[in-house]
């Protein structure tokens, strides 16, 4: 397996496919946004799964992170990388 298969953006998950967050590109986010992501439970090692993609182009997406469901747009989702559990 290549490294890219191990670490891929969360957006590439199929609906219902569970993965662990492996990295969050915090440098690509405003500091407040990075913190809000953290407050909503996004952190390395946390289990996530995509539950829904919105109609009209699949953006935003609804992500289950721990016990919480959070809606975010795909441009932000591209900064969150996941790996197989």
């Amino acid at each position: 397996m290549t490294a890219s298969a191990l670490h891929r953006p969360i957006d590439s998950l199929a609906i219902g496919e569970v993965a662990l967050i492996s990295a969050i590109d915090r440098a690509g986010l405003a500091p407040e946004t990075a913190q809000r992501l953290c407050e909503l439970g996004f952190d390395e090692g946390v289990d996530v799964e995509i539950l829904h993609r919105a109609p009209f182009g699949g953006d935003p997406i609804a992500v289950r992170v721990g016990n919480m469901v959070v809606a975010l747009r795909r441009d932000m989702a591209s900064l969150i990388e996941v790996e197989a559990p």
Partner: protein, 621 residues
């Protein structure tokens, strides 16, 4: 007051917690109807306080602070919470104790906030709310162990069923001393470290079996389905609007009848003169103009509250985000804008759910472009007078024109949002990040208290202004009185008539005559008043929506078609009624934005009417 005189100061307790932890339900359960809703000075953040009776006989002031995810604020609401906790809020006493309200089904995230609060070294009690839902989801929490590890009392509560309230009161009483506590310790929280600590705490005290959020996931399978989801949303909204207009019809009729009855009674008892005119055409007409919309507004608020409390509102925002993003807004702007089709006032009040100040301001500024129900009577009269009732294909031409007017409003709003986001409300909006809470059946108590709060807010905020302005406009339209040998309708001799005549040169280039200019002045009170004002200037008595036939004949004779079309175009953008401006002033806490709103809508209406008029003339209509 029969209560014994208590010299001791009243302790202050605040409810603090993440949004969706059930904080407001707990507040309602603890205080019942003994609550006061106001505003924090200088910001448009609601202040909710009530009296909490402690089991040891003392009573405390309980404050429901706005929900927040942490002590690092990202919105005016969250800043209020932070400042209140640190005792920095002007006019607020420092807190004696904090109740951290947490959702037992989402312990991980909510415990992190508890740890953040605990680091402040203030008396803290944890309300482990929604413990019934946790049990239903197969989540077992070792509460004693949790309290032990946290070092603060933890009480299981079910706010909607009023369970655990006594235990919570007892725990609070034990934490509130006679002297105020030391101020909170300023801290520098490392959220990620706390997050990790919370996760390991949860691993120790919680055993979960079975699928969490099973019900929510089942509902979402339909509600967020790419095809079914939008259909369901459309169906809910269709039902909502049907309800707003059809359920409100009967009570609106009663209110109109009641006002008419009072006016008739007064007319019997008082001599003809300015006093009768003031009471009937000023005060009662003013009260009527406010109260007649109350049924619609209450029904609309009831739906909005139910949508919010059930958790569906965030789903609607999720479904509509993509479309709203195209004009620089986010999904949360959708419902406020939709509500504005009934009336811009509840719509503008509903923008409080938009967390980004820029998005919120943009939404407020474009809300009046949604065709509100008060514009319908104006459209109905002018369409009835000038648009032939013939069919175009399978559709009636009159209906098509009405649809085009609604559509023009929406299109105007989208263009305005697009332009505003690049100019006056320029700047990056905070990224769209929205928690989608689990679905819940709204509790009746929370619905009723929420509805009561918003209804009184509407009546006091909009009502007083609408009434005052109606009386002022009445005075403008009544003074000076016409001379005894008057040949023209009385209004032409009045101040309103003079203002209208003075405005005529401004409106002449867009095809408006003097009568229209005069009618626009009292039309500022509420748009549909323009209909009766037109009736007045054309010397007809008692014109309203129901008996507009005479006015329709009159207008046909008096207006060329291009003028009528220009008048319709004007009302798509029409500088809105005074109550909309008043509510905008309240919600933006400055005069700047209502003045800006009036100006830009006036210019838009003027340009739209002008283009319509000249194009129509050019086509020889």
């Amino acid at each position: 007051m029969n209560a014994p005189v208590i010299l001791a100061r009243q302790p202050v307790v605040a409810l603090v917690g993440n949004p969706n932890a059930g904080k407001t339900s707990l507040f309602n359960a603890l205080t019942g109807s003994r609550q006061k809703v106001g505003n924090y000075p200088g910001v448009t953040v609601e202040r909710k306080a009530g009296r909490l009776a402690l089991p040891d006989g003392r009573s405390a002031e309980l404050i429901d602070l706005p929900g927040t995810y942490s002590l690092d604020p990202r919105s005016p609401d969250e800043a209020v919470t932070r400042d209140a906790i640190f005792g920095r809020l002007p006019g607020e006493a420092p807190l004696d104790a904090i109740v951290a309200v947490i959702d037992a089904t989402n312990l991980r995230n909510h415990l992190r906030f508890v740890l953040e609060l605990k680091a402040l070294d203030v008396p803290l009690v944890v309300a482990l709310n929604m413990s019934d839902l946790a049990a239903r989801d197969g989540i077992v929490i070792d509460v004693a162990r949790l309290a032990d590890l946290l070092g603060v009392p933890v009480v299981e509560t079910v706010a909607v069923r009023k369970r655990g309230l006594e235990a919570l009161g007892a725990a609070l009483a034990s934490r509130i001393g006679d002297a105020p506590p030391a101020p909170p310790r300023e801290r520098n929280a490392d959220i990620r470290a706390l997050q990790k600590q919370a996760r390991s705490l949860v691993a120790t005290v919680e055993t979960a079996s079975g699928a969490a959020r099973r019900w929510s996931q089942r509902i979402d399978a339909v509600a967020l389905h790419p095809a079914l989801g939008p259909l369901l949303l459309a169906a809910i909204l269709f039902f909502m609007f049907q309800a707003v207009f059809s359920w409100a019809e009967a009570p609106m009729g009663w209110i109109e009848d009641g006002i008419a009855f009072l006016q008739a009674e007064l007319a019997l008892r008082l001599p003809e003169g300015w006093l009768l005119s003031l009471l009937n055409d000023g005060v009662l007409a003013g009260v009527g103009a406010v109260v007649v919309f109350l049924p619609q507004i209450l029904i609309l608020f009831a739906f909005i509250i139910a949508l919010e409390q059930s958790g569906y509102m965030t789903r609607a925002a999720f479904l509509m985000d993509r479309l709203m993003a195209r004009v620089g807004l986010n999904g949360r702007a959708f419902i406020p804008l939709l509500s504005s089709f009934a009336c811009a006032i509840p719509g503008i009040m509903a923008t409080r759910t938009i967390d980004s100040p820029r998005d919120r301001l943009t939404t407020i500024l474009i809300a009046p472009l949604m065709t509100c129900s008060a514009r319908l009577p104006v459209y109905a009269v002018v369409i009835g007078a000038f648009i032939p009732a013939r069919d175009v294909g399978p559709f009636g031409l009159q209906g098509l024109v009405l649809f085009a007017l609604y559509f023009a409003g929406i299109l105007g709003a989208l263009v305005a949002a697009f332009a505003l986001r690049r100019t006056v409300t320029k700047g990056a909006a905070p990224p769209f990040l929205m928690e989608m809470p689990k679905y819940q059946l709204p509790a009746l108590r929370d619905m009723v208290l929420g509805l009561y709060g918003r209804a009184t807010a509407f009546l006091t905020r909009a009502g007083t202004i609408i009434m005052a302005s109606t009386i002022v406009l009445w005075a403008l339209a009544s003074w000076p009185q016409p001379p005894a040998d008057a040949t023209k309708p009385g209004i032409e001799y009045s101040l309103a008539g003079k203002i209208g005549s003075a405005l005529e040169p401004i409106f002449a280039p867009i095809g408006f005559n003097k009568e229209i200019a005069i009618a626009l002045v009292p039309g500022m009170a509420a748009r549909e008043v323009a209909v009766s004002a037109l009736g007045t200037v054309y010397a007809l008595q008692g014109v309203d929506e129901e008996n507009a036939e005479g006015l329709i004949q009159q207008l046909r004779a008096a207006w060329p078609l291009p003028t009528a079309l220009a008048f319709l175009a004007w009302f798509v953008f029409a500088p809105q009624c005074i109550s909309t401006l008043a509510i905008t002033r309240r919600e933006t806490a400055s005069w700047r934005w209502p003045i800006f709103m009036f100006t830009y809508l006036f210019v838009a209406a003027y340009v739209a009417a002008g283009i319509t008029y000249h194009v129509a003339v050019a086509f020889g209509l």
